[in-house]
Symmetry: D2
Subunit: 277 residues, 4 copies
């Protein structure tokens, strides 16, 4: 027996369809603004308990972001569907939402720690996929540097262990070194790091690879930046020096949309079962 909660998925990419499918196991779910077949459960206007908006939620015109549909969905259309105390789940903070829906609870599911942890896995897998696609050598035996020992750095290290790569983690402090040791990886202090690596993943959200540092690496080294804007590289210098840097953003939705959608759904389920954030 399904819960009586009515959820509307509005806009977004394939990830939101897979999110809808997972949510539909326990709630009444309807989808708008994605041109894909979805056999949800209808519910009347004014009866919607939760709306799930995509990443990012709004386009430049202030309408719902609908990259997979030509439909235009305005905030007003959502207001017709919503219950008075409808919860709005958004895939990123956007102050326009607060202005549009001043009386509703707005929850940014992308800022939840459980989602970030889970997303580290598809992100790391996607990053390794890029490395496999780009490199003419095997990861086995390759000297690999991971900058940062957070969620994504940890997930990367686990995967690369299986490949038999020779992994070093660059960390800022003794705590980072301790985290590396816990998962059995050797570490080096970022400021003392060597440069003889065939593959470098950056996960640190700050400028690490400036012109001077980049210059010391071989032209064969592949750099993959997983940090969000502004990224960890002096990209202009990298281009001038002929270094190969790939800035991989938004991996989970691109390379593992089913898993990424399920993670969003699980997070929403967790939030609702906790009684909201």
């Amino acid at each position: 027996m399904k819960s009586k909660i009515n959820i509307l998925i509005a806009g977004g990419d394939m990830r939101q369809i897979f999110c809808a499918e997972k949510l539909a196991d326990i709630y009444n779910v309807k989808v708008v603004g994605i041109d894909r077949e979805f056999s949800g459960t209808d519910f009347p206007d004014g009866e919607c308990d939760c709306i799930v908006l995509p990443v990012p939620p709004l386009d430049e015109n202030g309408n719902i972001n609908t990259p997979c549909s030509d439909d235009i969905i305005s905030p007003d259309m959502l207001k017709n569907i919503m219950k008075k105390d409808c919860i709005i789940f958004t895939g990123r903070y956007d102050k326009r939402l607060n202005e549009l829906f001043p009386y509703n609870r707005i929850i940014d599911y992308m800022s939840r720690e459980d989602l970030s942890l889970k997303n580290a896995v598809p992100t790391a897998e996607g990053a390794v996929q890029i490395a496999l696609d780009e490199l003419p050598v095997t990861l086995s035996g390759l000297s690999v540097l991971i900058v940062g020992m957070g969620r994504i750095g940890t997930a990367l290290a686990e995967i690369l262990k299986g490949f038999g790569a020779d992994i070093t983690v660059a960390v800022h402090n003794a705590k980072g070194a301790g985290k590396a040791r816990v998962i059995g990886i050797k570490s080096v202090c970022t400021k003392d790091m060597d440069t003889d690596y065939g593959l470098v993943f950056n996960t640190a959200p700050e400028l690490v690879f400036d012109r001077e540092l980049l210059r010391k690496f071989s032209d064969d080294t592949l750099f993959i930046d997983l940090a969000s804007r502004p990224g960890g590289f002096d990209f202009d210098s990298a281009a001038e020096l002929g270094k190969k840097v790939i800035w991989a953003l938004g991996i989970p939705g691109k390379t593992a949309p089913v898993t990424a959608g399920e993670i969003v759904a699980e997070t929403i389920i967790n939030i609702l079962s906790e009684g909201g954030d």
Copy 2:
């Protein structure tokens, strides 16, 4: 060339000797209150920059804790050796120290996060050693439950992966589940956990295994508790029910004293290079 910092190691077990050896690579180090040969560097009274006390620092008489010596070292003896601004490193908070040395900086190295992280490794190795010693079956293919996904739980999971154990982690919430996923381990919510495990490690510092829960496990299950006092078990019920529970405390110092001592030394080096805590 050695730094001019003079350090006195006062009391403690073998761990402190190995700590002294490591510190002696860069500082002038002297040892008192451990009956073991140590070829340190002498320095005059009144010239000591740092004193390193053991875990715990004081005995019930208020003297330095010297389990490996019959020497009695009183706090007053230390005062003679100390510089005025001598830093006191202690292996656990003890308010008597604050009374004895009111004008000195007292730093509890055991409470440092980098030390806790690093100590997770010898603790996990020691716990696995106990399991190997006690179990008449291989860890390979064994169904193992780890309660808690903190430092020690993570270190245990990494080691047990290598053995080919079938590992499940019991966690409290979505964040714990996310951490398990990052290192590729399946998780279950503590309150929903099954009981058909051949080996259970508890790392959660709270009563998890009460009488009712213990009753559901097989008598063949081996339980190893790594939580500090009061531990995660109703030990009386466990004894009455004939369950095999081993409460393993203070592992790093017992099973890997060299590594444990080096970790203390590294922590002190880090603190001094940071200019104190």
Copy 3:
């Protein structure tokens, strides 16, 4: 100082260039029939000690196989370059070679066990790359079946462990089950295998997946066949049933040409240092 052995690399793809580069570290190496710059060492006609032919060695006209050049290299041209006792290394047995060079030693480097073992690694990495490219879900937590516990099956299992996949190996007999246990993987007898896997790798060189068996799998299952001709699948039935089967042949040369070339070079070095096969 280089050895005085003179080696000619004749024809082939990029792999042969990387092979040439590695061999050039210790021998005099010249390349013909690949339109790529290569700064080798010249040697006079009639002074060639070894010729390295590609995979396969000859085209349908009986000339050297030169997929990366429009040059035509006839066996007679090679005869001019060869010393009388020149060793011919070939990338596959071809009886025409025996007829063309009846008095020379002909060694098939592709049939060497050390090469097969080493090639298992780039093959497994390439297979995992295909899986990452094709699947909309993460390998983490995915139920994966590997058919066969030989070199490639073992290399696959090692890599997939790092991803946190739930791996089962299908084996024919108790020996296969034992090999799986040695590397900590659970096994099942091929004839009793379940069919609820999201990803299946076949490494067994025989028909395993016939119509009846394929029918039992979900349409979402991705099958990757790594067996050489005739492959492990009833491909016609798979197509009719709408099953997704990718037959991945010649992976090492395609996805990791540098490593693949180095492996050929190492094998030739080993053979020469052993004094020939």
Copy 4:
């Protein structure tokens, strides 16, 4: 419903009891010569289809080896129990058996490859247990050498990976190097090996560590020899030089008797289901 095969377990240690328990799941099993309670199924004299003898099968008087009982079991007593075509399973070849039972099929289960493969796992776990018991440092980060890349070397490498040890395998030839690469471990040729290892496992059944080689290692290095007689060490020189060498024989039965017994049982089941060897 049980099979009608009647099996007698005669003599041996605890391993044989656990073997009996596993066999009793599918056959009628009776135990003699082990003073341990076992609730088997009785069958009349002259009706025994198989006899399982221990490792080794006979004592110096030619009676069945009964280390866990004061009972004396003579071969003649077994003859009374046996069917005419009774199969005799023995835990090692002993030519006296062929003289005693010239008309019976005698199968040495210890020489079966599936048993050897499976026994590699408890052997490797037991070896790691010894290392944990003996070493004052963690395996994490320790430089470990494994000599030999067979079953036991492979199983050791897998376990030590989980500990985050820095593993090198010493191999004789290119094939060994290939096998190491398949499981993601670096290798070195035995004759070129370094000597700066904290822990060395030998699995090669030949003299590797002679006086000259041993001399080059640190006195802190722990050596564990897993090779059967005559072992891989010049033990006299090792003792004279003060090197710490542990010769660990018969591990599976000692450290994991349940698993070791089950492996014997599985092997017997496999042999019977194949219709004998």
